[in-house]
């Protein structure tokens, strides 16, 4: 299987039903994308597929082939920078394990809605579990990032 990750093409010798998550983590050794549940419940494995946030743990390799996949290691752009800066300014992460997925999903939200309401933020991030419950700060950081982008 040939997949394109962070702009590079990779030949992966694996069954075509292997989830993209394991190709990214175990074969390409890009470990910013996390395993949390394996059933699209927690969002820790979120990657961009053609710019849209997807759960790599339930995306078989055969559906990833031919698409443009971006992991947190390959993210850039104004929205991503604003999200990261806002995250850091108020120390959002605790254990940090879910945060790649949170950052990816929040970036996708700002690309779609530069000035999200609190309800927009909640709706966009409702699929990303944080067991440390850093949600108050996630919400604040997304608002802060949106303000930065607007300014």
């Amino acid at each position: 299987m040939k997949i394109t990750v962070n702009g590079s093409s990779h030949e992966i010798d694996a069954p075509d039903d292997m989830p993209l998550l394991w190709a990214i983590r175990d074969r390409l050794k890009l470990t910013g994308t996390k395993y949390g549940c394996g059933v699209a419940q927690c969002g820790a494995c979120t990657v961009m597929v053609d710019g849209q946030p997807k759960r790599s743990c339930v995306t078989p390799l055969k559906f990833a082939a031919g698409h443009d996949i971006t992991t947190i290691e390959g993210m850039d752009g104004a929205e991503f920078e604003a999200i990261q800066t806002a995250w850091r300014a108020i120390d959002v992460p605790q254990c940090g394990f879910c945060q790649s997925g949170q950052v990816m999903t929040a970036t996708a939200l700002l690309k779609e809605k530069p000035a999200p309401s609190d309800t927009d933020i909640d709706n966009a991030l409702a699929g990303n579990i944080c067991r440390c419950a850093t949600y108050v700060r996630i919400r604040q950081a997304v608002r802060d990032a949106a303000d930065t982008l607007e300014a």
Binding site: N6, A14, P15, M18, P19, W22, R25, D26, R27, L28, K29, L30, T31, G32, T33, K34, Y35, G36, C37, G38, V39, Q41, C42, A44, T71, I72, E73, G74, Q84, W87, R88, D91, V92, P93, Q94, C95, G96, F97, C98, Q99, S100, V103, I121, D122, N123, L125, A126, G127, N128, I129, C130, R131, C132, A133, T134, Y135, V136, R137, I138, R139
Partner: protein, 731 residues
């Protein structure tokens, strides 16, 4: 990979130039964006420290490099509660370092050097990190400062007393000389450390009490922080284990032929906890495990359902158990009282479900063992792995990794997970690195839960409106019994079963708490705030109902009963001020309050609640007041209160582990073991009560009050007293 001996004496440590050798410490700072987290990356980090081998190591905790960086070796595991930042702050304060030069790294497993004073061995738990390191880390920083100053004085030929240190610069005003720490690292390393050092007065603190940025934030926002799950070594295999479907069941027979022929599977071996499948990658290991045909022996398994276990506990709760606390004449019951109330509560088993499931990389080689994992009780884990693999504890090195949460799950008396990792290594013929991984299903169904508990309370109010009777019976499995902490059990009472109940702060004249040890074949463990997870709920909801019977307000009534407990009263008043009282902000909402002390810290919370369309609770806002002594990092304290509230709220609303008929766990993943999600997270406002007392912990104390605050608000809103948790049953 080098194996680091863990039996270095302090003196060896002082003189050792090898403290930073590859393999001893995993650095937290990672270079470059977009790099794969291979062993190359890890080696780069370790060598980043190794290049400082000529540096200054005044004690087991402080490392000062020629480039001015100060690395603090942290004896507590970092999983979000903040010890990397907090303990480094204590060192930086007394060292007069600049925050930008501070780094943190996990200390190696070495009980002699890195024991937790609360346990007598190395480990993290009971919200003790700051409390038990407060003086130790400050002394470590002050010692380093004295030695650097002495080295500077000798080199500059000026009196020690004329040298000042500020923000990482050592200066002598008279000769206009100034230099960084690194310049004197080599000279200071040749000096003998002073026996005794003076510490700063609280009024002189520059960093303690400020919101210094957390040291691990940056790499936790770009995917660079390395967790155990992220490690890849050359020739490494990934291992998953098929565990029995009921607690206490064992393997009868296994047909592994299909598993062995699964592409990518390298080996299949029985181990004491199940059948281990070794494969080239995680997916292949999972496919191989799925192909196993196992038959299980359930002769000694727990086959009762949780319904049956709960019913058995309810029966026992009808009679008082072993006495944990008593005063006055509680045995007289409600005789002569104007009003009485009896209530029975049930609390389910709870899984911790940290975001990162249990995992461990282990490599047994040449009579030594090297391991990388989120070890929370290093000394026990080290000894357990040593015993199974037939080496001395000192030959087992543990690299304590960043862990994706724990909430108690990784602190394992008896070290069952470290034991499984050691057995996985022992059972595979070839010496190579092995990564043992539990899936989410393994995690949710794997036991070691917060124990199921039943409480029965009887109380009463006399003719004058005073709460005059409190008689509480608790039934639950003992966490300490049979564990390394069994010595904590006194007169048959496991303190972790009754904490928060037997020390009820309210001045009630006739008072008793008794305990029955419940019996069930379900492995149990502490869960963020341990006994307080259930005692805070039963006591704070029950007192709320009694006060209402007595015609007293929730805040005023509690304050009147808290005469001898000013810090409880302090946080209660503070939270009432913060929230502006208990009147809801709009109609259709209600507020409830709870106050509870745990792990030496005092927390009061007020929750404002309404009802969703599906009649479940919606928590809009939580106000929180905390008194944890000196506030070392207010930002971290607020974060722990916010997180504790979310964690406790999610459990109260949704979480229960149930055993079906036959003993199988009904929940397997986050679909039925629901986690709180962002749209269910209330706004949180925290106030920290100013205090000069020595600091106490904040990792757990934010959890206990939220569930009873919610319940008290809910009862005020709906009239419904919730006595069986969780609030929402998920089918």
């Amino acid at each position: 990979m080098s194996v680091t001996t863990t039996s270095l004496s302090r003196r060896d440590f002082l003189r050792s130039a090898a403290w930073g050798s590859a393999g001893l410490v995993i650095a937290m700072a990672l270079p470059g964006r977009g790099r794969a987290a291979t062993m190359d990356t890890q080696a780069a980090n370790s060598s980043l420290i190794a290049s400082d081998a000529a540096g200054f190591a005044p004690n087991a905790f402080v490392r000062i490099a020629p480039d001015d960086t100060v690395t603090v070796l942290i004896k507590h595991i970092e999983f979000g509660q903040g010890p990397f930042t907090g303990l480094s702050t204590l060192v930086a304060e007394e060292l007069d370092a600049d925050w930008s030069q501070m780094r943190a790294a996990s200390a190696p497993a070495n009980a002699e050097l890195y024991k937790n004073f609360a346990f007598g061995m190395q480990g993290t738990g009971g919200s003790t990190a700051i409390a038990n390191s407060y003086m130790q880390m400050r002394k470590a920083g002050a010692t380093a400062r004295v030695m650097l100053v002495q080295a500077a004085a000798e080199q500059w030929s000026v009196p020690v007393g004329e040298i000042s240190v500020d923000k990482g610069r050592i200066s002598h005003a008279g000769s206009d000389k100034s230099a960084g720490f690194g310049e004197f690292a080599e000279a200071a390393a040749k000096l003998d450390p002073p026996e005794d050092v003076a510490l700063k007065k609280a009024g002189d603190f520059r960093l303690i009490g400020t919101d210094v940025p957390k040291l691990d934030t940056n790499i936790k926002t770009n995917g660079e922080a390395l967790f155990t799950q992220d490690l890849h070594h050359d020739d490494m295999l990934t291992v998953v284990v098929a565990h029995p479907p009921q607690f206490g069941a064992t393997m009868k027979s296994v047909d592994a032929s299909a598993a062995k022929s699964t592409p990518g599977v390298v080996d299949v071996q029985p181990i004491p906890t199940g059948i281990a499948v070794y494969a080239q990658d995680t997916w292949s290991a999972l496919q191989g495990r799925r192909a196993l045909k196992v038959s299980w022996d359930t002769a000694r398994a727990e086959t009762r359902s949780t319904r049956e276990i709960t019913d058995a506990y309810r029966q026992r709760a009808q009679q008082p158990g072993r006495k944990a606390a008593s005063r006055g004449k509680p045995e007289q019951g409600g005789d002569g009282l104007a009003k009485t109330l009896t209530a029975e509560y049930s609390f389910p088993y709870l899984a911790h479900a940290p975001m990162e499931t249990l995992d461990c990389v282990i490599h047994a080689k040449d009579g030594a063992v090297e391991s990388w994992f989120g070890s929370q009780l290093q000394t026990g884990d080290q000894g357990t792995m040593a015993e199974i693999l037939g080496v001395k504890p000192a030959q087992v090195s543990i690299h304590t990794m960043y862990a994706g949460g724990s909430f108690g799950r990784r602190a394992q008396p008896g070290s069952p997970f470290a034991a499984e990792a050691a057995h996985v290594a022992k059972a595979h013929a070839k010496s190579r690195p092995l990564k043992l991984v539990w899936t989410r299903e393994d995690d949710i169904q794997g036991g070691w839960y917060r124990p199921l508990n039943v409480h029965r309370l009887s109380g009463g109010v006399d003719a004058d409106g005073n709460v005059a009777l409190w008689d509480q019976t608790i039934v639950g499995q003992s966490i300490f019994s049979g564990s390394a902490f069994a010595a904590m059990i006194k007169d048959g009472i496991d303190p972790s079963s009754v904490e928060g109940a037997e020390d009820l702060p309210y001045g009630i004249p006739n008072f008793r708490v008794t305990l029955h040890d419940g019996e069930a074949g379900v492995p149990i463990l502490w869960w963020r705030s341990v006994g307080h997870t259930h005692t805070a709920y039963s006591t704070e909801t029950f007192v709320d109902e009694l006060l209402e019977m007595a015609g007293k307000g929730p805040v005023e009534g509690r304050l009147a009963l808290l005469g001898e407990h000013p810090r409880h009263a302090g946080v209660l008043k503070a939270v009432a001020d913060l929230a502006g009282g208990l009147d809801a902000s709009e109609s259709g909402r209600a507020r409830g309050v709870a106050v509870h002390k745990s792990f030496g810290s005092y927390v009061a919370q007020i929750a404002e609640v309404s009802q969703n369309e599906d009649r479940t609770p919606k928590v809009h806002k939580v106000w929180c007041a905390v008194d944890c002594g000196v506030a070392v990092n207010p930002n971290v304290i607020r974060a722990q209160m916010e997180g504790g509230i979310g964690f406790g709220l999610g459990a109260a609303l949704y979480n229960e582990i149930t055993l079906e008929e036959g003993g199988r766990v009904a929940q397997a993943n986050f679909d039925r073991y629901r986690s709180l999600r962002i749209h269910e997270m209330p706004d949180v406002e925290v106030t920290i009560v100013t205090s000069d007392e020595d600091p106490t912990g904040v990792g757990e104390p934010g959890v206990p009050p939220i569930a009873p605050a919610l319940a008290n608000a809910w009862r005020r809103l709906t009239g419904d007293a919730i006595r069986d948790l969780p609030f929402v049953k998920i089918s």
